[in-house]
Symmetry: C2
Subunit: 665 residues, 2 copies
């Protein structure tokens, strides 16, 4: 049984890797770009949709603003890229925003950034996979209304791939990312050529009338109009997520790490910007209609569209129009886009466990997050991320539009704090730097980060104002909970460390004067004999066997057998008026301690070792409770003397080594 | 925190009881009757309803058969009572049917009876409480459509009462049972007086037309009619459950136990029979209509009754009619009947844990079922029963009619096997008994049990044939699963006992030649110092400290500190290429064992003892996994050296003593 589990695990997760092979899992730029950039690039698959969808609330005329909204998004994107190029140079160790904030703004800001990032990694997975599920169901009618199941399956597959380790991920993900760039490039170029040639067809949805909300019957005017524009912009800022992934992932780059990371960032910014603007322009040229609620907003001759109308994502609609007459192109675009979204989620699977591990090392999360699994990947973090994302997907019914309201807040909290940290960083460095060349470069960097801080801070306020009631409050709440939790964990570890610190060396060196061995006995059988033999071998000053008198008959039998065997250890029978095992033993051990407080009491407990979990239910229940209770008594050592039952043979006790740290009984 | 839990537990469950006080919890007849008879008496609250409901399928004319069906039920009831009077005299030890079957028919029949009884106890709770919930909702309109919740709450309350112990149950339950007998007696007498005085009013439902199933438009004729009569009889046999409760409960009676139990049985049979017949006759006289699906079967002028018509149970309808003009009587009858049904469920709470404990003692169920909780009640059995009953209630939507299809099968399996066992018992006894007076009494008993076997066997076949597809298959399946499970558990315990038996005394006396102590070290702090001191105090032949080299820096720091402190124990650093803790330690310990196989290796593990469960998540994870794995290695003793953190102070390790045996970490 366990062999099968082991074999299955090896098949799914692969062979363990040695520490030394960690160096070989470093990524060259051509692999790092797809691994880290897929997040930012893939948001092109839903960010334009959200801009159009939000503007649609003000009717068809408002759509004319979409390229301008896109342009503002691109400006902010490029500013953020420029800022982060300073970050990766100054902090190449991979702590990313967390490290920048902690170093320059203190621990509180650090944990703030960390909680924001953790929440956002989870949302990256949830949003990307939900969007992927919708691309899949647009192309494969059989998947319609099963998006949640498809999304959960996708997250599970990603989890397994990541448990195999980072290297395979890189190679496996490079090809589809480049395919995606190529196919979006082909779409944009073909579209542009046909537009200028004057034969660009209209999108299938361009024939529908678009009905806005009653509040916007005058179009985008007044405060309401400005607010809607701001909301469209805030949604479009989803395109900016993923930039920070690179700053957290610098150590995974080949040397020179910082330079390579900075170059990758620039590449990413350029490609991403081009894609967003091109898609929004093409959408306008082909008259794409994309509504939040298509069944009430889209109409034909004043009648709503039929209930089985399925709204295809914008890139899909563009592919249909641009490659009209060649249907396979639509399926290729849908497939590649769906795949790239899955890969985007993978970025979070790279970033989350690293951050969790750093937080575990710093004592803000349980230390076991810092322990590596046997595939060099941080198994615990990967599994935690997967579970949280699945919960979100199920709770929000895999709706990209609803999930996107929760998104971005975290990223911009960390953007803003990180840029503020960088400002402080340069100011501090400038205080001690004498070299004028270096000083002028630092001043330039400080200006870049200052502009970055101004912009990201403004966007953060816009996002909070426009999205708070739409779901951003959930994100803030989750961040707050994580913040309090991490502070509490750190405080706990600090307190324990203080409590355990060696204050008085001589006291620590004092030895107990005598050893009093107590062997617990219930029956005369092999495990008891072994426990007696082991206890005697340790040559204690006092040794006695102890049993609890629950059943008169059993005790009489035990005493008779003890006498027949003429065992060289006296047997003591403890009275148990309430027919319990634990309390009388505890009471006796405490009385021994009270009589000679400087003695050490070693309690030997014979224990069955079983091969199946259900056997555990049939044995050891009393022994386990007793062990747990005895540990609360100072001056007592609990020694388990195992007896390996036949069913345990072939087991090594190592079966549950990877994944979450389950507790072996 | 734990103080509050403890105080709450004491408040709900009461103070612990000493073993000696067990004698004082014995029941006099006047208390034993209500405790054990409430099951059988309470079935009068639903058995007549089920007879009428089944006959109604053949239309209003078929209702004329109801007193005759009731009469057959009563005949079988009296035969069963007569048979069980023989049982309690021959087997006064409380094993009941299980003991009778095991002793006379062998272990397989014994487990068969046991699984039948266990299933039936659960159904007793589920059926009685569901019926009670319907009485409650008939009287209290606010409870309508919340029967499931009400039933689950009632089971939970019963569970708590029973965890307090059997004595309070007896006293608390005597008064309502006698009230019930009095109020049903008053109902029957008043009804009879008014009937013969010629002024008995008709029931409210008598005005409805009753529509039978199309198959029975000719009334009760042919095979279909006979089958329906048989089904009505089978449902009516629900009145027989509870008789075996007394035979299982003989030890709880005052002396002379057997005679008192036999007298109680006779009382019970007489009262129960009178009630059933009286109620069915009264129902006929008042024209009560009771249908399986009132909203299609009951009509007014050819139109179905309105959807908010609530069908009141038969006893309630009778109370309305007989005590017409005095509405409080209806509420009193409903309240007392509902209460008695809850008390009936209590019979199962008395019987199930006792049987579970006997099966635990005999090794058919996990041994912990044999351990008593601190209130002399078998806490584990009580909680198991409550959970199973709640599952059934929720699964069957608290529908008495649907649950009753599952009921009775188990009882009659155990009736039949038990009577067959008694036949064998008398035949065997007669073989050796010389005294002619005793012989003739034995022969008379044998005839009674023979008749009992014939009747109960026939009823079992009728029940199986008429109810198999209606739900009895579920019961049979559950019985089968329990049967296989119990056989498997016993086989496992037998195999283990054989494996552990002392075969070679001299080998068991051989001592390991030397002791090799390994102290696991991760940091230099108080817990490590204590583990070192304790290990040294035990004066092993070899002692060494061992650490796992996961992180270069940490190890260098540890070594430096070790040298500074000049500790008298050598420190060994184990290589960990895969950054694990468990595997390198395991490998090292095995290599020590391989080099000197006759040595004993004691591994000292410093362990934190924490006061809160969540602290456990932050500590000890590596230690726990390591301990579990080391136990699989022969020749190794795992010694936990506890360090009590400040948060553990005030904890005794005994907080989770009652209820299920949770495992303390």
């Amino acid at each position: 049984m366990s062999d099968i589990v082991d074999a299955a695990k090896r098949l799914l997760v692969g062979r363990p890797k040695r520490s030394e092979s960690l160096g070989r899992t470093l990524l060259p730029k051509r692999v790092a770009l797809p691994v880290f950039a897929s997040d930012a690039l893939s948001s092109v698959a839903y960010a334009p949709d959200e801009i159009l969808l939000t503007l649609s609330l003000a009717g068809v005329a408002a759509l004319a603003f979409s390229p301008w909204v896109g342009l503002v998004v691109v400006v902010v994107l490029l500013i953020v890229v420029a800022s982060y190029r300073q970050n990766v140079r100054a902090y190449p160790s991979g702590g990313g925003d967390y490290e920048v904030a902690t170093t320059n703004l203190g621990r509180t800001a650090g944990i703030g950034v960390a909680s924001a990032l953790l929440v956002d990694y989870v949302l990256t997975v949830a949003v990307s996979i939900s969007a992927a599920a919708h691309y899949a169901s647009a192309a494969v009618p059989g998947l319609r209304d099963h998006e949640v199941v498809a999304a959960v399956v996708a997250v599970s597959v990603l989890t397994l791939i990541n448990l195999r380790g980072v290297r395979e991920s890189g190679t496996a993900f490079a090809v589809p990312t480049y395919c995606y760039m190529a196919i979006i490039g082909a779409l944009v170029v073909t579209g542009a050529v046909r537009y200028f040639a004057g034969n660009l067809p209209q999108a299938a949805s361009s024939g529908y009338e678009l009905v806005g909300e009653a509040a916007f019957d005058q179009g985008l005017v007044g405060i309401g109009g400005a607010f809607l524009l701001a909301r469209a912009f805030a949604s479009g800022c989803a395109a900016l997520t993923g930039v920070e992934a690179i700053s957290n992932g610098v150590p995974a780059f080949r040397k020179p790490k910082s330079r390579n990371a900075a170059t990758t960032l620039l590449l990413l910014g350029t490609i991403s910007s081009t894609m967003i603007i091109s898609i929004l322009l093409l959408a306008q040229a082909t008259g794409v209609r994309f509504a939040e609620d298509p069944h009430s907003q889209l109409q034909v001759n004043g009648e709503p569209v039929s209930t089985d109308y399925v709204q295809i994502p914008v890139i899909g609609q563009l592919a249909e129009a641009v490659f009209s007459g060649f249907p396979p192109a639509f399926y290729a675009v849908s497939a590649v886009t769906g795949l790239i979204l899955v890969l985007a989620a993978n970025t979070a699977f790279n970033g989350f466990p690293v951050l969790g591990s750093i937080l575990g090392r710093d004592g803000y999360l349980p230390r076991q997050l810092h322990t590596r699994g046997d595939r060099l990947a941080f198994s615990n973090g990967i599994v935690t991320l997967a579970i949280a994302a699945i919960v979100l997907i199920v709770a929000f019914d895999a709706s990209t539009t609803r999930l996107i309201q929760l998104y971005i807040v975290g990223v911009f909290v960390s953007f803003t704090l990180s840029q503020l940290g960088m400002l402080r960083h340069w100011t501090r460095e400038l205080r001690t730097e004498p070299n004028p060349t270096v000083r002028s470069r630092m001043k330039r960097s400080r200006v870049v980060n200052g502009i970055g801080f101004g912009f990201t801070g403004t966007v953060l306020i816009i996002v909070l104002v426009t999205k708070f009631t739409h779901g951003a409050w959930i994100t803030l709440l989750a961040m707050g909970v994580l913040f309090v939790l991490m502070r509490g964990i750190r405080k706990h570890y600090d307190r324990v460390r203080e409590e355990l610190a060696l204050d008085d060396i001589s006291a620590a060196r004092a030895l107990p004067s005598r050893v009093h061995a107590v062997v617990l006995v219930s029956k005369v059988h092999k495990p008891t004999m072994r426990a007696l033999a082991y206890a005697r071998a340790a040559r204690p000053n006092v040794i006695e066997a102890v049993t609890v008198g629950v059943d008169r008959e059993d005790i009489d039998g035990l005493v008779a057998e003890w006498e027949t065997l003429d065992l060289p250890v006296p047997l003591r029978i403890l009275d148990s008026p309430y027919r319990e095992i634990t309390r009388p033993v505890l009471k006796y051990v405490r009385s021994v301690r009270r009589e000679s407080p400087r003695d050490l009491v070693i309690v030997y407990i014979p224990e069955y070792v079983v091969g199946h979990w259900w056997e555990q239910l049939l044995h050891n229940q009393s022994a386990l409770r007793l062990k747990g209770s005895l540990l609360f008594t100072p001056g007592v050592v609990v020694a388990s003397v195992p007896w390996q039952l036949a069913s345990s043979r072939g087991h090594t006790g190592l079966e549950d080594d990877t994944f979450m740290h389950g507790r072996r009984i």
